[in-house]
């Protein structure tokens, strides 16, 4: 299938001793040295951490002890996932030099499995963006065409995994930030149900939308990583504790499953993208699935509802950056208020400031009812629309993004136009549902297209199984290989 760096394949190389774990880690670290200048995927490499974990795994293998599927697998974390002792900045000047004193729960879970952390990856500042270009370090580039964006906000993870500079990575998805870059980079991105994966240690953007999930080269890998990171966590009061492992469900028949197609998802979708999605639907039909046409008129409010609520939550969450306890502090000030204002104005980039201002505006007296409260009510309407839709179907299928990856440099020109990129991804976050993006061929420009599968809450196993069935049935036609990074 051309997917030479999947977790299962690397695990096999390790257990059959075709390569040592340290050698494998070095291969990836060397590839980062060579190719990161071109892709700008990593903002920090962590070779000591990687090699220390690799040595532990090699010792286990040498002693003839079995290793778990994720042990020794080279991976990466988005720069908003806290790593004790390793700088975590959300690619923002305001967190420059911030070194967490604790691990995010997802990272401690993977660490226990001796995951080999290669480094922290690029992202839009505080995950606010759809191109990765609001990063303090400049945007990550698309491994399929470095003149184009990798997408965002988890653009660095997607560029790293898509460019074979990591076997997998964890990103965060507030309005599409895992699925959209995965779609742009031709790989798999999975956003679990809200509450399925602990957010402890994820730097908060919009707390009722944020969710951590895997970005991988295959659906099977996504299931493997999802199973490893979904666990009840008392440190996250929204942690659900509901857990059905996904991996054992892979391979289940999807004959007779009803796949809902809501026409609103296809408004404004580029014709070649639409064509790739329709072809994918034929594959689902050939697997015995049935399609059901749906109408969900309230989806047209998704984008403004998302931007109003996410910015409101962000304006509150980002209130903590005052220059006192961590991160950047302005050099000169006249009093404490001046210190806080200058620190924030110098530390936050333009897009973050725009969103804090919008959030503050919609929460301020006189506008709260018209915007914030109205958006909350519409959020309820959208939640109900999905509940009704899932009375009529088992899963829904939609494009992940209405277009393919576009040329770099667009964010700065038109913020609102860039927001439109998220039109097919935000509904899932509004309703707290699981959603996955799987490669489904290429557009007229030769760039990858992603299809999105959406399920009811906590239907991870069903979503991943259907995606896996599709991926295996579509084979090479869905997947475009990249010549970059590690080849084994």
């Amino acid at each position: 299938m051309g997917k030479y760096g999947t977790i299962a394949r690397l695990h096999e190389l390790l257990t059959t001793r075709q390569i040592s774990c340290a050698e494998l880690a070095k291969k990836y670290l060397d590839a980062i040295e060579t190719d990161n200048g071109r892709l700008n995927a990593y903002v920090k490499a962590t070779p000591e951490t990687a090699l220390a974990a690799a040595e532990k795994v090699d010792a286990k293998i040498a002693a003839g002890r079995p290793i778990a599927p994720l042990e020794g697998i080279p991976m990466t974390l988005k720069d908003n996932i806290s790593t004790a002792g390793i700088e975590t900045t959300c690619c923002s000047k305001i967190l420059k030099g911030y070194v967490p004193i604790y691990d995010a729960t997802v990272w401690s879970l993977l660490k226990r499995q001796n995951a080999v952390l290669l480094g922290k990856t690029n992202m839009d500042e505080f995950a606010m963006g759809s191109t990765c270009e609001t990063s303090r370090f400049g945007g990550a580039k698309n491994p399929h065409d470095t003149g184009r964006v990798a997408g965002g906000s988890s653009g660095g993870v997607a560029a790293a995994v898509g460019g074979n500079l990591a076997a997998y990575g964890l990103g965060s998805d507030t309005g599409g930030s895992i699925r959209q870059p995965a779609s742009f980079c031709g790989i798999v991105g999975f956003k679990p149900t809200y509450g399925a994966v602990s957010r402890y240690g994820l730097v908060a953007f919009a707390s009722s939308f944020d969710q951590i999930g895997p970005i991988t080269q295959s659906v099977e890998d996504a299931a493997l990583v999802y199973d490893a990171i979904s666990a009840y966590d008392e440190m996250d009061s929204t942690s659900s504790g509901r857990k059905e492992p996904a991996l054992p469900s892979l391979g289940n028949d999807i004959r007779g499953k009803k796949i809902g197609i809501a026409r609103e998802y296809f408004d404004g979708v580029r014709e070649d993208v639409n064509g790739a999605i329709r072809k994918a639907l034929d594959v689902f039909r050939s697997l015995g699935a049935e399609t059901v046409e749906l109408s969900m008129p309230s989806l047209k409010y998704s984008l403004p509802v998302y931007y109003i609520l996410a910015c409101a939550e962000a304006s509150s969450n980002l209130g903590r950056y005052d220059g006192i306890r961590y991160g950047y502090q302005t050099a000169h000030y006249t009093d404490r208020n001046d210190m806080v204002c200058k620190t924030r104005s110098e530390g936050f980039g333009a897009e973050v400031k725009r969103r804090i201002l919008l959030g503050t505006y919609v929460l301020s007296a006189g506008y709260y009812d018209a915007y914030y409260k109205k958006a909350q009510n519409l959020r309820g309407t959208i939640v109900r629309a999905f509940e009704n839709a899932f009375q009529k179907c088992d899963l829904m299928l939609a494009p992940t993004v209405p277009m393919t990856a576009f040329a770099s440099g667009r964010t700065a020109k038109d913020p609102v136009e860039t927001y439109l990129t998220d039109i097919c991804t935000v509904p899932v976050n509004i309703a707290g549902l699981p959603g996955i993006s799987v490669p489904c061929g290429t557009g007229a420009d030769g760039m990858p297209v992603g299809l999105q599968l959406i399920g009811p809450k906590f239907s991870e196993a069903a979503v991943l199984n259907a995606a896996n069935r599709y991926e295996l049935a579509a084979r090479e036609s869905s997947f475009k290989a990249v010549k970059a990074g590690v080849s084994l």
Binding site: E234, V305, Q329, L358
Partner: protein, 92 residues
């Protein structure tokens, strides 16, 4: 219509200072974003008792002290500290 004064008022609430040369651009951006957000005010929502979309309830534990992070570790990330406290100078 968002005016320069509105932007300055909101910026003050958000503890952001807006440089004079940023004001025009920011006001224009804010107007575009607000116009985009305005589509919701015209919409009719069928839910009015909406408060918890994720269906979660509060999680409590017994109020007993548990070990936490060490003070000196927490203070390591501060710009300045003194005698175990965060230090904020009057001016700098």
């Amino acid at each position: 219509m968002v005016t320069h004064e509105d932007v300055l008022k909101i910026a003050n609430l958000a503890k952001l200072s807006v440089a004079p040369e940023e004001l025009d651009g920011l006001t224009k951006d804010m107007n575009e974003i607000i116009a985009f957000a305005d589509t919701v005010s015209a919409a009719s929502a069928d839910v009015s008792d909406f408060d918890n979309i994720n269906g979660l309830s509060n999680v409590f534990r017994e109020d007993v002290p548990v070990p936490s992070y060490r003070r000196e570790d927490i203070l390591k990330n501060a710009e300045s500290s003194e005698d175990g406290y965060f230090l904020v100078r009057r001016r700098r």
